[in-house]
């Protein structure tokens, strides 16, 4: 047991692999290229363009909702016309032919 526990006594330090520095620098260069590629999105011109697109979409939505409300006005006018015609011909009258006996 003690032999096992002491088996690391006098152990030599494991050396870093060959070309460690070269590979490290390559990794750092690759990391820099990736972050540069991603950073173009954050440039101000793209942020402003995105904002304008959002504003445009808002304007389209607002404009189209205004058009819908004028359609509703037209629909309400049509309803009034129908109702006046119905009233003239007593089509919306609740009394029916079945009230004939009422006159007697």
């Amino acid at each position: 047991m003690e032999e096992i526990l002491n088996s690391l006594d006098g152990c030599q330090r494991a050396g870093a692999p060959d070309f460690f520095y070269t590979r490290l620098k390559a990794k750092m260069e690759n990391g820099r290229e990736v972050s540069t590629a991603q950073s173009w999105v954050l440039r101000p011109v793209y942020a402003v363009a995105a904002l304008l697109v959002v504003l445009l979409i808002n304007a389209v939505v607002i404009f189209s909702s205004n058009n819908n409300s004028s359609f509703e006005d037209k629909a309400s006018v049509d309803t009034e016309v129908f109702q006046s015609i119905a009233a003239e011909y007593r089509l919306n009258d609740n009394s029916t032919l079945y009230d004939i006996n009422q006159d007697k």
Partner: protein, 187 residues
């Protein structure tokens, strides 16, 4: 280059200073990492991340400790991070297999042979490393820094930001746990 010049050079992103840092510390970092992660490829990855982190955060180094102490601290932290991520990948793999996905065979990690161990001690050292892998994190770090890097209890306490008495206690418990684990493996 003395330590002050090195730190100043690193802060100026001087390539010569960085090369000097890597040449001076790469074996210490690699040896510490391999003792904890017990795999040469992973240890190299950890070592690379350590130097990248040193380069990026040298401006945050307050010089309250030696540069070597700071480098050891980053190394042990990064190595433990890798162990934790390995553990969570293993857990996820088990869940995948429960749900019928992830049919890749589970590869058992082979016994670790530290390249610096003498030939006549390799077998015992492999058993010891297997037991070290089962220690709690703090005990693992203290034991590895003391036994593999030959740091004194004082130096280990500076790396782990604790007292010498705490390191003595950690080492005592580490040895007790290692004995228990080795007895169990023998049985």
């Amino acid at each position: 280059m003395n330590e002050q010049e090195l730190i100043q050079g690193l802060r100026n992103a001087d390539d010569t200073a960085f090369r000097y840092l890597v040449d001076t510390y790469k074996d210490r970092v690699f040896n510490t990492a391999i003792g904890i992660v017990q795999n040469a490829e992973d240890a190299e990855d950890v070592a690379q991340e350590v130097f990248i982190q040193v380069f990026r955060s040298i401006k945050d180094f307050k010089e309250e400790s030696k540069l070597s102490t700071w480098v050891y601290r980053i190394t042990t932290t990064r190595a433990l991070d890798l162990l934790r991520s390995r553990k969570s990948k293993k857990r996820f793999g088990i869940i995948q297999r429960l749900f019928g996905e992830g049919n890749e065979p589970v590869h058992e990690i082979p016994d670790f042979n530290h390249p610096g161990v003498a030939l006549d001690r390799k077998e015992n050292a492999a058993k010891l490393f297997k037991a070290i892998a089962q220690l709690p994190e703090n005990q693992k770090i203290a034991f590895t820094l003391h036994k593999l890097e030959d740091l004194s209890y004082q130096e280990v306490s500076e790396v782990m930001k604790t007292s010498v008495a705490a390191i003595e206690s950690l080492m005592h418990r580490a040895k007790q746990n290692l004995r228990k684990i080795l007895e169990k493996e023998k049985g």
